[in-house]
């Protein structure tokens, strides 16, 4: 019998008194959604998984190889990371900024620039190409950031609350982009508080494949699928609230209420 090496295998991750014995196995094509209260360690865990935070204890294997032994260039073909807050230098032209996402290909600038222009047209974002970073709205900036992830052509995206600060329409657009990339085969690990967007955007037939990993006080305390009936209850426990499923115009949604009300 042959065993398949998982895409990413994290074992007993401890980090800076924030994460305690966190273990997670991610297979190729999975969608992992990290949920939990503010400060429970979701972002730290994501940064450990991406290799950005050096580990003192625990191991992370990327296709069987310790992430410690991989150079940034090696990793960049596998993992593309979108931090929660981007801190872009003010005046960098958008096209040049997007070209940076092609760094790993070591290709001529003209080739990168063409790729960027093609993708901007494909996503109807070419009107943004002459802007600079401060001239973008939060939504435009986030959609361009996702384009940067596409340009990197990595097999896994790691996203830290990619739609939190955006208006409802842009949240939908951003999650549509993410789910589309996932259905095209990209492995997805995302931190979020909003599962309702996933209920709305992910087709019901794929709910089994969306794994919700709940964290509390730096430990992984819950693993459920999006289709699980127990999800509302477990999510409630995670936030110390009562979780309920409600039906809004045929779409399943999560609703939380205070425990003592």
């Amino acid at each position: 019998m042959s065993t398949v090496t998982p895409f990413l295998e994290a074992t007993n991750i401890n980090w800076q008194h924030i994460l305690h014995d966190c273990s997670l196995t991610v297979n190729k094509g999975d969608m992992i959604v990290l949920v939990g209260e503010n400060g429970c360690g979701k972002s730290s865990f994501l940064r450990c998984l991406s290799g950005w935070y050096p580990l003192k204890s625990g191991t992370i294997l990327l296709s069987g190889t310790s992430i410690r032994n991989l150079s940034p260039l090696d990793k960049s073909s596998t993992i593309a990371l979108l931090p929660q807050q981007l801190n872009i230098l003010d005046n960098i032209p958008i096209v040049e900024w997007l070209c940076n996402a092609r760094f790993r290909f070591e290709e001529p600038t003209q080739k990168s620039t063409k790729k960027v222009h093609d993708l901007l047209s494909e996503y109807h974002l070419d009107h943004l190409q002459h802007r600079t970073w401060p001239q973008l709205s939060g939504g435009e900036a986030q959609r361009l950031s996702l384009l940067a992830l596409r340009l990197q052509e990595a097999t896994c995206w790691m996203l830290d609350e990619p739609a939190n600060h955006l208006d409802p329409k842009v949240q939908q657009l951003v999650y549509r982009d993410i789910v589309q990339a996932w259905l095209q085969g990209t492995t997805m690990i995302t931190v979020t508080h909003n599962l309702n967007l996933l209920f709305q955007i992910v087709d019901k037939q794929y709910w089994d494949r969306v794994r919700i990993v709940g964290m509390k006080d730096g430990r992984i305390t819950m693993t459920q699928n999006l289709s699980s009936n127990n999800l509302a209850n477990e999510m409630g426990q995670l936030y110390d609230l009562q979780g309920h499923f409600v039906d809004i115009q045929g779409s399943k949604q999560l609703y939380f209420s205070m425990e003592n009300t």
Binding site: P72, S77, L86, L89, Q152
Partner: protein, 314 residues
Amino acid sequence: MTTRMGMLIGLCLLILAGSPFVGLTSIEDLTPFIFWEIRFPRFLNGFLVGATLATTGCAFQSLFRNPLATPSTTGTTAGASLGALIAIVCLSSTGFLNGYTLMIMAFVGAMAISIPLALLSEHPNIRTGDILLAGIGCTLAMGAISTGLQFTADMSETYRAVQWSLGTLSNVGYDSTLLLSIPTILSTLGILRQSRGLSAMASGEEMAWSQGVNIYKIRRNTLLWAALGVGTCVAQCGPIAFVGLVVPHIIRLALQHSGQIVLWWSPIIGGTFLVLCDGIARILMSGGEIPVGVITAAFGAPMLIGLIWLRRKP
């Protein structure tokens, strides 16, 4: 943009072509000897030093994501100044003090600060901002030690130290051009080779790193190449302020662009800027010349304030 670039190149060529003819000697008295043996090597040295300082300044501004970073930010200049001062104070009574020992001590001083800092910068647990802080700390410490040494020095030593610290291109010839050219050209090319990585740092370290940029290696290499180039320049000509700070901003403003291209333009504009300042230094005072460091600072500071005014929010 192409028009702007063309105009900038035209202006540079005009300044570069005209500057060797400017000086205390009138054009009629300008003998081939003065031109080829004094003016031309001085012109070459000015260009090399300006190019190196501007390229380093631009690279540091990208690396530290700070528009005020300069080649002296990481303590290279302060180390060189201390080295030179030690040479002046300790060697003047022994008879060993000459141009070469001064140069060697200044270079050793520059390297003694920059190399450990560059090696430290390779460590993943050290933040880039902290390297900047360490550099500023080193600069302040070197400055304090220098002041202490000057306090113990006699008048003639102090005068020599002050003279050195003003920065000048006057005591040079082809020998020094040769000495200057190899490290400065290597340093400039070394930094330009990092241009893609440095440009990717604009996205922030975490994202650049995820895009495949080995930010620790970029930090180390940029600091090492800068140390070699700036250390050589300071050792030969003394500290020349403001070139590395102002030139990248001039390019950004002139081209109305702030991407990778600024780094590639830095050697050309930096070289031209220093050659221009040196020309001004030669003609401003009748009967003598002002150290070029005074000119770059005197012009650079108001220019910087002017640029900040132009960059103000609408």
